[in-house]
């Protein structure tokens, strides 16, 4: 009879194959303490030989992974190699053998466990995750000492079922024969999950019940998109899963092709899909998904969770790094957008009754000019290293824009006088997220180089509905004709002045909204990187003149569902 278990979906896709159950690593042999047969010198020699062999294995694994998957994926094995060379590890194992009279395998396991615990207790999740690396090395040493066969050598296409899969386990598996993973421990960010995603192998983690239930050779279905594991499916279920698997593969192949293509609508009009990033860690993913720029670089992370303000040099280093990584592609940096739900304690601002309507973003920057000038100087200095646009958030009036630009011009003049290298032009833009700005977009367009519509806040302020309040979810709809009308006004004003207009809210990642926005004249859509191939594929099926006609029709709709229905027509 079939049974279904739920775990964490860590690598999407559907695998259907026989299970290969990897037995838990050999349980420790009875302690050799006091045993007459114990030979410390032999154990020591055994350990040293195993250590050298492990180093060779890891160097080979590192080089093979680098050749197949790139240096970034090989880094994990380079790190393992460095851990293995750590003199403290060797001396702890040797101490275990000589003082505690443990066998080499026991001493290796004990030492790696001790250090794994040390890392797990470091209190920082990034470093605590390295504890798995230590345990992984411990198993490698034990395997070499026991001279055991590799349980991960597959003879046929299999779903690999294990208590835990270490990074070197996943790398050692024959990719062509590995259909999927089911793991009892782990999470979406553990190494094996990350590696599974990069190898495109469906995987479910955090499924101890499934791992206990699955017998070697049983037929298993792994749905790495939903986290479901089905064991021994009946014929009807199997048929259903086969259909789903085929559909998923077709979709994945289609989307993969779109990551590397320019964005074009069905009629051939070029658009740009950019990434929203909130730190340097998001860059690799943005580039891998084919981002044509950064449409929104949130800079709050530099200011949050610390007691002092970030210095000019510190900010410069971060901005420069991002600009250099993106090369010729444009990076729009949003100046400090504190307030609302983003508290920045180091600014020491008083509490407000209504933080979303308070002294936030540009309002705060114009009050704390000292803080603002530091950020502007860092941005100007970084401008020499790429294609930079500076965007001011929460602009309600043209006076605010003028004041911000005046400060920028002053800092530019001062830096130029000091001989600092600067880009010839640094474009300035307004984030349109307050209805007043959309209504007066015509005036703002005369004095800036681009608009970017922050659809989340624009919706919230237009509908006067807190977007964090689930009870008001029915009002937080960017397709409401009132919001669409403000977007249309903004796009029209930009069109008349010949400046580009982008959208950088959640809306941009919704295919139906993306088509509507393109129809209204938006030329850049910025979103979380994961959505880029999806939206790019959707837009390729959209005829722009049709989308334009439908978007104008949606403006006349009476209700949000009606507007949405009209807009969905772009995909028929």
């Amino acid at each position: 009879m079939s049974a279904t278990y739920r775990g964490i979906a860590v690598s999407p896709g559907i695998a259907i194959a026989a299970a290969r159950v990897v037995p838990p690593d050999g349980s420790p042999a009875a302690p050799a303490r006091g045993s007459l047969a114990f030979d410390g010198a032999a154990e020591l020699a055994g350990f040293r030989a195993a250590l050298e062999k492990a180093k060779l294995e890891l160097a080979e694994l590192r080089d093979r992974t680098a050749a197949e998957l790139g240096a970034l994926k090989a880094e994990i094995f380079a790190a393992h190699l460095s851990i293995l060379k750590d003199p403290e590890l060797a001396s702890e194992v040797e101490r275990g053998i000589l003082e505690d009279h443990l066998s080499a395998a026991e001493a290796a396991r004990a030492a790696t466990d001790v250090f794994a615990l040390l890392l797990a207790e470091s209190g920082d999740p990034t470093f605590a995750a390295r504890a798995d690396d230590l345990r992984d090395l411990g198993r490698r040493l034990v395997r070499l000492l026991d001279g055991g066969a590799d349980p991960l050598v597959l003879e046929r296409r299999s779903v690999v079922v294990a208590r835990e899969l270490s990074p070197s386990d996943t790398a050692r598996l024959d990719r062509a024969l590995t259909a999927g993973f089911v793991v009892a421990g782990g999470s979406a960010v553990s190494h094996s999950s990350i590696l599974a995603r990069s190898l495109g192998i469906p995987a479910v983690a955090g499924a101890p019940d499934a791992v206990d239930a699955i017998r070697d050779g049983a037929l298993v279905v792994v749905d790495g998109s939903s986290g479901l594991v089905t064991v021994d499916p009946d014929p009807a279920e199997l048929e259903l899963w086969r259909g789903k698997a085929a559909a998923w593969r077709a979709r994945a192949e289609l989307l993969e092709a779109f990551a590397g293509r320019p964005t074009r609508t069905g009629d051939g009009t070029k658009l740009a899909l950019a990434a929203n990033i909130a730190g340097t860690a998001d860059l690799s993913d943005a580039l891998a998904r084919g981002a044509e720029g950064v449409g929104l670089f949130r800079t709050e992370f530099l200011y949050m969770g610390r007691a002092d303000l970030p210095s000019e040099d510190e900010q410069y280093a971060v901005y420069r790094h991002v600009l250099e990584r993106m090369g010729k592609r444009r990076v729009i940096v949003r100046t400090l957008d504190s307030g609302g739900d983003k508290e920045v304690p180091c600014l020491g601002m008083p509490r407000e009754e209504n933080p979303f309507l308070g002294v936030r973003a540009i309002r705060l920057c114009l009050e704390r000019v000292d803080v603002f000038r530091v950020q502007l100087r860092a941005l100007l200095r970084a401008s020499a290293h790429g294609s930079l646009g500076i965007m001011f958030p929460m602009i309600a009036t043209v006076e605010e824009l003028r004041a911000a630009k005046a400060l920028l011009a002053e800092e530019r003049a001062a830096l130029a006088a000091s001989g600092a290298p600067l880009a010839d032009t640094v474009e300035t833009g307004v984030m349109i997220e307050i209805p007043a700005a959309a209504l007066r977009a015509e005036v703002l367009a005369r004095e800036c180089d681009f608009f970017s519509i922050g659809s989340n806040d624009l919706t919230q302020y237009t509908m006067a509905a807190d977007r964090m309040n689930p009870a008001l979810a029915r009002l937080s709809r960017p397709c409401h004709p009132a919001v669409l009308a403000l977007i249309a006004m903004t796009a029209d004003a930009a069109g008349r002045r010949g400046i580009p207009v982008g959208v950088c809210g959640e809306m941009a990642a919704d295919p139906v909204c993306a088509a509507a926005l393109a129809g209204l004249g938006v030329t850049e859509l910025s979103m979380g990187s994961a959505s880029i191939p999806l939206v790019r594929e959707a837009l390729s099926r959209v005829d722009l003149p049709t989308a334009a006609r439908l978007a104008r029709a949606a403006l006349e709709a009476e209700t949000e569902p009606e507007a949405r229905r009209i807009l969905e027509g772009a995909f028929q």
Partner: protein
Amino acid sequence: MKTRSIVIANPTGFHARPAREFVDAATERFPDTAVTVVKGDKRIDGKSMIRMLALSARYRDTVELTVEGGDEDGAIKVLGDFFETIHAE
């Protein structure tokens, strides 16, 4: 003996890769130099990858690097600069 006080510049902290490169450089390029890293009340051997990871030096943390013996000038410069560099993801 030379000492240098440094603020971690990498926005994602001194994570596995920079730590590995630091330890490898300390071990391979400065074999005759003792390398010590201090963060708060933790004092560790800069040639131990495990201790380096357990130090969990984060963005904006201040660390103190001490080198003794061998090529002290080279070590303080090369190893100190590791902390002050932003490492690509």
